[in-house]
Symmetry: C2
């Protein structure tokens, strides 16, 4: 342990209690974490298509009944940030520190924190989703790429202006992923 870090809260576990659950038709994640890294379930093109179509995919977020009122005012937002738990990642995979992005050997191996890998020390995943409707304790959203049954950790408002909108630099391999998703999108749009 680093000297400057000793005697702090760093060694204390944090306990979360899910605030709700995701309901949708996505039963399995397409990225699977094994002992030696990530691998992709199914075909690359199909998965790129799925990444794209998840933008249109509808999910329900069902919030615990005992948290009544905690969603009040959420209808005023067009988008929300959803933090959820990647419950399909096995506990033992949380020790992975490096992977090939998306399980693709043609991309250079990266530290987990440089990737969107679902297998990470604390697999808290984050998506900005479009809020379509609220009915009581149930939100309907699109663009949430969580699998069915994912425990929800937190909901936050998405407040565009707080985020940088220019001057963003990302690695080449991440640009490549973005190009591939965009390519599938243009193919889908042509159909």
């Amino acid at each position: 342990m680093n000297e400057s870090v000793e005697g702090t809260t760093l060694n204390k576990d944090i306990t979360l209690r899910p605030v709700g659950i995701v309901r949708n038709t996505i039963k399995e994640p397409f990225l699977v974490a094994g002992a030696d890294g990530l691998s992709m379930r199914g075909e690359l093109h199909d998965n790129m298509k799925r990444v794209h179509s998840s933008q249109a995919e509808s999910s329900e977020i069902v919030i615990r009944n005992d948290l009544a009122g905690i969603l009040d005012g959420i209808e005023e937002y067009s988008h929300i940030i959803v933090l959820y738990w990647a419950h399909k990642v096995q506990e033992s995979r949380r020790t992975l520190t490096k992977v090939h992005p998306m399980g693709r050997k043609d991309y250079p191996i990266q530290g987990i924190f440089s990737t969107c890998s679902p297998a990470r020390p604390n697999p808290v995943l984050m998506t900005v989703a479009r809020l379509k409707e609220r009915k009581g304790n149930v939100l309907t959203v699109t663009g949430l790429d969580a699998v069915d049954g994912s425990p929800v950790i937190d909901i936050k408002p998405y407040v565009g202006r707080f985020y940088p909108d220019e001057d963003i630099r990302i690695p080449d391999w991440m640009q490549q992923i973005q190009r591939e998703v965009a390519q599938v999108k243009s193919q889908v749009d042509m159909i």
Copy 2:
């Protein structure tokens, strides 16, 4: 408990282990959660100035030594998403479901999930920070509004294009907060 939610992972606690810690000069949060909601420590104008100047404030994120390599490749990004734990929020305050935003009675009371309140069922806070430097297991960033000693839960790359950049709708009171921060910014810029 909602019927559709029973028998799921919803009732199972989630355990996180901090991956690192924040080091900076901010010793106390300016929003404090009491039994009856949020209140602001100090003057409104000073706090707005602080919200603005946190954009320039430098912090170090010290990652656990046993996670060597997990940051590899992070230098390729201009910005990172930092998830951290609001450790100054008392456990008992995690049951709050409604607050006046920023503790201000002139703003309409809101469900916690409609606000950026640090007091929330699972106080996992999120900031997009600018990455200035990486030296081994230490990242230097600006714009991280965590207090000193905050346990870090996760680091993710910030990939601008994945987020919506238009067509964002937010409530009037949140627009008001943005105007107030912008106003302070213009005053600071004039000095």
